[in-house]
Amino acid sequence: MADFGSTGTITIRVNHVASELRVSAGEYLAFKLTVEGASPIFVFACTHNTRLSAEQFPGHPKQVYEWTLCRQTPGAAGIPNENSDGADDTYVVVMHFAAAIKYTLVIEQRDRNNQLIQTLKDIDFESKAPEDKFPEGLRVVQV
């Protein structure tokens, strides 16, 4: 039986369903989405808004998409940062398989010096069915 959709499979290396984030101490989340296929279609959203979509990234379509959440220091060029609009919010990366067959999502929690605190997610999502989509979520509570 598929893990999601009609043919989807999920390979989990690391998975946290939720995380506490000390934004006041400079902690932030770094997202990295690696794609295999013809053209990635995905969005990054919270419960209030869609924050980012694939075509907003420079160089789209490409293999690696990176962005951050709640980063307070300037990041590298081409890596957008999104700020939180709620102390307790759920963020999802919704991946569509219309023209891609595999996504690898890595989410890292980092400190103000960009040092890794912990990896929150490192998961592969694969599907051969172009109708399939999958929203992977992470609950983020600011403390």
Partner: protein, 448 residues
């Protein structure tokens, strides 16, 4: 004795029927129950619950892509293909036809035949040592996917001096490629646009479901036997909604609680009417776009050859192939070719015009009741051949293609042919064949 066995069989059948009816009734009354099997992670369970509530009819509307040929080309002796398809797999495909099923004994055909097909794109990616599934690389070279090459072996008829084992060589060039992803950016943009409004809905559903489970089970479950002590919702989510603990937690839900969950999801997913739901719109847009791309016309030029050593005949086929999705589950393929047989016997050459047509019906939806997401395909085809030796032949074929459950990319085609001429089919009237097709692209993409 016979009566006892009959009664036993009847009881087994009756019990099976009652069990099936019970399961079916349960799944209708409590559709979220089946999501207990989708607990690879919390998002997977929430997605399953969401899908059940939204009840998208998306999958039914889609037509599987039957036009990427991984079977032996029609020129091969032991093939299950009467009609060739316009396109080949993007990277590589392998076809093996194992045996011809004889309608009488004494025939001499022959053992395994096989071809491997690859595209110029795959060869270029290998030469450039670049990942062929890098989206930027993929989109940069759409024209390389127009060209594909086949090489293989045809076991032939070992009893015939002129139709023995042969080497198969061939290539195809897509002249019109309406299904190329890189050329359907505008259509795919519609899916991306529909995904935008759906994002926050998915997020709210996951947030609401986490809150619900926390409220119902946090006090009773504690830390779910994890080292992190129970506390707020973050600790509960990581302790009780992940791994084996997630399966246990979800299994605790009562039918009433699952109904409450369905209502929570419906409130977010379908706030007013289904027509205004962003999730329904996403599914509708996806079905429409994928269907239109799958049904787009394709026209290709083909050249196939079957080359034999010694006194064996060399055979060539060249011409045009056309595919078009007439409607959701019905694809039509047309072949118009010129066939040439180069005989080593003086005066034995044959030249023939050939026209073949095939209709492919998708028998089952993309997710069949047999548990495999790939559909069963039934194809009917006909071939007419007019040769310079006045031996015109007419052949009909019925073929069933069955996906092998659990083996991605592996299919089992069975075909039955009927012809007017015993020259074409040695068994005079009917020939059955079966084999395997393997789409290597799909197999490779399963590797980590």
């Amino acid at each position: 004795m016979f009566r006892t066995r009959l009664v036993t069989l009847f009881l087994i059948a009756a019990l099976a029927g009652v069990f099936a009816a019970t399961v079916n009734a349960q799944s209708i009354a409590d559709p979220l129950k089946s999501c207990e099997a989708r607990t690879k992670d919390f998002s997977a369970w929430a997605d399953c619950v969401t899908d059940k509530v939204v009840n998208a009819a998306t999958l039914q509307a889609n037509q599987r892509h039957p036009a990427k040929q991984v079977e032996l080309p029609s020129i091969a002796e032991n093939t299950t293909s009467l009609v060739d398809q316009t396109s080949a797999p993007d990277l590589a495909g392998l076809a093996l036809d194992l045996a011809g099923l004889k309608s009488k004994t004494g025939a001499n055909d022959n053992g395994a035949s096989g071809t491997i097909t690859t595209s110029a794109y795959a060869l270029y990616a290998a030469a450039a040592q670049h990942d062929p599934l890098d989206p930027a690389f993929y989109q940069s070279h759409p024209n390389l996917r127009r060209f594909s090459f086949s090489i293989g072996h045809d076991a032939g008829d070992t009893s015939s001096a002129t139709k023995g084992p042969a080497t198969i060589l061939g290539f195809k060039a897509l002249l019109l490629n309406g299904r190329e992803v890189a050329k359907n950016k505008a259509k795919l943009a519609a899916i991306s646009a529909a995904l935008g409004p759906a994002g926050p809905v998915f997020a709210r559903i996951q947030q609401d479901l986490t809150n619900y489970l926390f409220q119902k089970f946090a006090a009773a479950l504690g830390s779910c036997h994890k080292s992190t002590p129970a506390g707020g919702i973050v600790q509960f989510a990581n302790n009780c909604l992940d791994g084996d603990a997630l399966t246990t937690t979800i299994a605790m839900l009562t039918p009433i609680q699952r109904q409450e969950i369905a209502e929570i999801v419906a409130k977010e997913a379908i706030p007013q009417t289904p027509a205004t739901s962003s999730l329904v719109k996403l599914n509708q847009t996806t079905a429409d776009v994928i269907g239109r791309i799958r049904r787009a016309p394709q026209l290709s030029f083909t050249f196939e050859s079957k080359l034999r050593n010694g006194t064996g005949d060399d055979e060539y086929r060249t011409g045009l192939l056309f595919d078009y999705g007439v409607w959701d589950r019905f694809n039509v393929s047309l072949n118009g070719t010129f066939d040439y047989k180069d005989s080593k016997i003086i005066g034995g050459d044959t030249r023939a015009g050939r026209f073949a047509a095939e209709g492919i019906f998708q028998l089952t939806p993309n997710k069949s009741s047999f548990g495999d997401p790939r559909p069963w395909l039934l194809s009917t085809s006909a071939e007419a051949k007019w040769a310079n030796n006045n031996k015109s032949t007419y052949t009909g074929q019925l073929k069933l293609t069955i996906p092998i459950p659990g083996l991605t990319g592996v299919n089992f085609p069975i075909s039955v042919s009927l012809a007017n001429s015993s020259d074409l089919i040695k068994e005079k009237v009917v020939r059955g064949r079966f084999g395997f097709t393997v789409d290597i692209t799909k197999l490779l993409s399963k590797t980590p």
